[in-house]
């Protein structure tokens, strides 16, 4: 059982947002860690080829494996192809110590969970994708008894939620700003990578006859 968008909304947005989920509220309450991206952008301009600066290569492999389950690669690119792990790494190098803690403590917690659930496999990245999903599902707070381990580890849970949000940001941020490598995230969601657009914009306005004609059409009916 996964935590659904519904519950995410309720918890993270609606309880505090009031009469509705407002774009303004969302924008005012982004996870602070996302602030990393501009720094990431600077780092991206300076550092060629990309090198990990916060994560050890081993840690980076784990982070990449986790984010690859959050936004998996199937017939279209996922977090891996978007370079999400680089986005997060660069962000952490240039950002607050608080956020370091989330990752520094979260990764070992996750490893501990892996050892509990799959004692024969040393690392998350060594699990099969099904096993990886099972580990991540175990962090979902509404997991029902009998459907998997339900272990209370608030720190790690926070870590997984943080990672989810960072994976999304790294996947969809404007490619000029250090994630969404080559715009693959936008390709997946169908966003053309243009700086300006002209009407018609979509399917429904393509055949719009104009205001006057539409009025007349409506009057006939």
């Amino acid at each position: 059982m996964t935590i659904t968008m519904n519950q995410l909304n309720r918890r993270n947005f609606l309880l505090r947002a009031g009469t509705g989920l407002s774009a303004a509220w969302v924008s005012a309450n982004w996870p602070a860690l996302l602030s990393a991206a501009t720094h990431a952008h600077e780092a991206a301009k300076a550092a060629t080829p990309p090198k990990f600066e916060f994560f050890t290569p081993e840690e980076a492999a784990e982070i990449e494996a986790i984010t690859a389950r959050i936004i998996p690669t199937d017939d279209t690119p996922g977090a891996r192809e978007a370079g999400v792990v680089y986005f997060i790494d660069r962000g952490l190098v240039t950002f607050a110590a608080d956020d370091h803690k989330t990752y520094r403590e979260g990764l070992p917690e996750l490893q501990a969970r892996v050892s509990e659930m799959f004692p024969s496999v040393p690392k998350f990245s060594g699990l099969s994708t099904e096993q990886q999903d099972a580990v991540l599902h175990s962090f979902d707070e509404n997991a029902v008894a009998g459907q998997g381990p339900r272990l209370a580890r608030p720190g790690a849970q926070n870590f997984f939620e943080t990672l989810q949000q960072h994976a999304i940001a790294g996947f969809l941020v404007d490619p000029d700003y250090g994630g969404n490598h080559d715009g693959v995230g936008w390709k997946v969601i169908g966003r053309e990578r243009e700086h300006m657009f002209q009407a018609p914009f979509g399917y429904y306005d393509r055949d719009y006859p104009g205001w006057e004609a539409a009025m007349k059409e409506a009057a006939k009916k």
């Binding site: 935590i3 995410l8 909304n9 509705g20 407002s22 924008s27 991540l136 169908g190 979509g202 429904y204």
Partner: protein, 554 residues
């Protein structure tokens, strides 16, 4: 920043010190400098220009490049005055030259006649400060027209049967309709309602030095890189600077209005970028710092003569805060709409602007519009249907399918003025400059929520009539976050129950004027900026007349 700007010394007593350069401050600066006065505009934020505006969601949303910063300027929140307020980000406003008009969505509805005299029409509402304005729609109409023509508003006059009378058509046609607008228009007509092209403060045709909208899709939250959004930055401030009489002084955080022993304002004390303090002397002070910071500044300016804060003999500075209500009702359609292209709103309807509280069983009025105002990351975090997994294959599939196919029918409505809803000074929390932080107290009137829930049902009917594959929303809840910051220094004729008179002059301090969202007496139906700007044009006329008659100085 143009070379034409004068540099006034702080010891140089200018005619007007204007605090805040947003929707109201920018227009007052333009009008008063054009009328021959020497003006200094003190803006707490930086002077950014088109070259500084990007499509970077993280810079804009997470780093608050254009807005008040929750760490430098924290605030507290509580629902009712008997609670202890907790630190929690409860408001957002533009903090840069041009203020909130730089990053807003640019919906530019006029208020209607009813908004100014509804109390007389429907009677009192128990427990509220619901009252008439001291001015009418007719008083403001010429200034609405002025806003449309001077700053640039796109729209179609006569397209809505509910529109109030107007003296002139819009200066330019509506922006091109979006797919959400076509869906909304057809469905609403089917329901017998009257959708029409949304009036937007975004150019559909170029103007000197400004491009028409290029439909980049980064509107709400972002500064416009081509000057198509009619912010104060792109419009009034440019003209003010060209007069050679107006200095825009950014990074100037005013924390106190000083008064002399006669109880007159003598100038504005502010921190510069390095946190050195200065006192800009002025013959008169006009505060346009928004509905949160304007009352805060008056409260921060308390002294022996004004122990409850400046211009606060009524005791209501900061009170009667109103937000408007807003709820998105999402729908997913079969084919791509590509709402990520273009500005936010292309169709709106006002069939429910004025309702009979007797028949409804509650007070309220509002509008519906068609839009999406989430950029990609925000969309992925908040706009997928209930029940969608939040990670993994199915999350990705939903995101990939829905991003181009989702639109909102949004509800916009009234907030009743309650004395207990307010901005005040937090007794404990300080900002990064050591000043008392804002404390917000807010709990929606039950009718505001009832009306919103009723309007949500109408929005669902639009999606239903349009044949949406999925539709969903959440019930109205009490708000804990505001961007429309209205009513906190309300206008009125009685000094006991209002802070400013119909000329925007404070009842208590003869050469102190306030003009911004705080001046509003009622909330309107959801889009206040147009009215704030019309008030600013009108205030400039009133203040100019007073100054020319010698009624401001001494």
């Amino acid at each position: 920043m143009t070379v034409d700007q004068p540099k006034y010394k702080t010891s140089d007593e200018v005619d007007f010190a204007i605090i805040g350069s947003g929707a109201a401050g920018g227009i007052l600066a333009k009008e008063l400098s054009t009328n021959g006065f020497r003006v200094v505009v003190l803006e707490q934020g930086p002077y950014l220009t088109e070259a500084d505006f990007t499509h970077n969601e993280i810079e804009v949303f997470a780093q608050n490049k254009l807005t008040n910063h929750p760490e430098l300027q924290p605030n507290t929140f509580r629902k009712t005055p008997d609670e202890k307020a907790k630190t929690q980000r409860a408001l957002m406003y533009g903090r840069c030259v041009g203020g909130t008009s730089v990053h807003f969505t640019a919906n530019f509805w006029r208020f209607h006649e009813i908004d100014f005299m509804e109390r007389s029409k429907i009677g009192p509402i128990a427990g509220t400060g619901f009252t008439d304005w001291p001015i009418t729609y007719a008083d403001l109409e010429p200034y609405y027209t002025k806003v449309e023509w001077e700053i640039g508003v796109s729209g179609l006059a006569g397209a809505s049967p509910f529109d109030p009378p107007r003296s002139k058509p819009y200066p330019m046609p509506p922006l091109p309709v979006k797919s959400s607008g076509v869906i909304f228009e057809r469905a609403a007509r089917k329901l017998g309602w009257h959708p029409y092209p949304a009036p937007m403060a975004i150019l559909s045709q170029p103007r000197p030095g400004r491009s028409a909208c290029v439909n980049c899709g980064f509107c709400l939250g972002f500064g416009c890189e081509v000057g198509a959004k009619s912010s104060s930055l792109a419009t009034a401030i440019r003209i003010a600077e060209k007069t050679g009489r107006c200095e825009i002084r950014p990074n100037s955080y005013v924390h106190r209005i000083e008064t002399d022993d006669k109880g007159r304002a003598v100038g504005a004390a502010y921190f510069d970028e390095k946190r050195n303090t200065h006192l800009q002397k002025a013959k008169a002070v006009i505060v346009c710092a928004n509905g949160a910071e304007t009352p805060r500044l008056l409260l921060l300016s308390a002294n022996k003569q004004f122990p409850n804060g400046l211009a606060n003999s009524s005791g209501i500075v900061g009170k009667y805060l109103m937000f408007n209500t807003y709820t998105p009702v999402f729908g997913v359609y079969e084919h791509p709409l590509n709402e990520y292209k273009g500005y936010a709103v292309s169709r709106v309807l006002h069939d429910f602007y004025e309702l009979d509280p007797q028949k409804m069983g509650f007070y309220g009025g509002g509008g519906l519009d068609a839009r999406i105002d989430f950029t990609p990351i925000g969309f992925a975090m908040g706009c997928l249907p209930p029940g969608t997994p939040r990670w993994g294959k199915d999350f990705k599939a939903a995101l990939a399918h829905d991003f181009t196919r989702t639109m909102e029918v949004s509800t916009h409505g009234t907030s009743l003025p309650l004395e207990s809803n307010s901005f005040s000074l937090d007794p404990e929390l300080k900002d990064a400059w050591g000043l008392p932080a804002l404390r917000m107290t807010y709990k929606d009137h039950p009718d505001d929520l009832k009306f919103t829930n009723w309007l949500i049902e109408r929005a669902k009917e639009v999606h239903e009539a349009a044949g949406a594959q999925k539709k969903w929303s959440y019930p109205a809840r009490e708000q804990q976050f505001g961007v429309h910051l209205l009513g906190t220094c309300r206008m009125g004729n009685d000094p006991k129950t209002s802070v400013i008179n119909a000329d925007h002059r404070t009842h208590d301090v003869k050469n102190l004027f306030l003009c911004d969202g705080s001046s509003l007496v009622t909330s309107g139906r959801g889009q206040p900026t147009m009215t704030i700007e019309a008030l600013a044009f009108r205030a400039a006329d009133r203040i100019t007349a007073l100054a020319k008659r010698g009624e401001i100085s001494a």
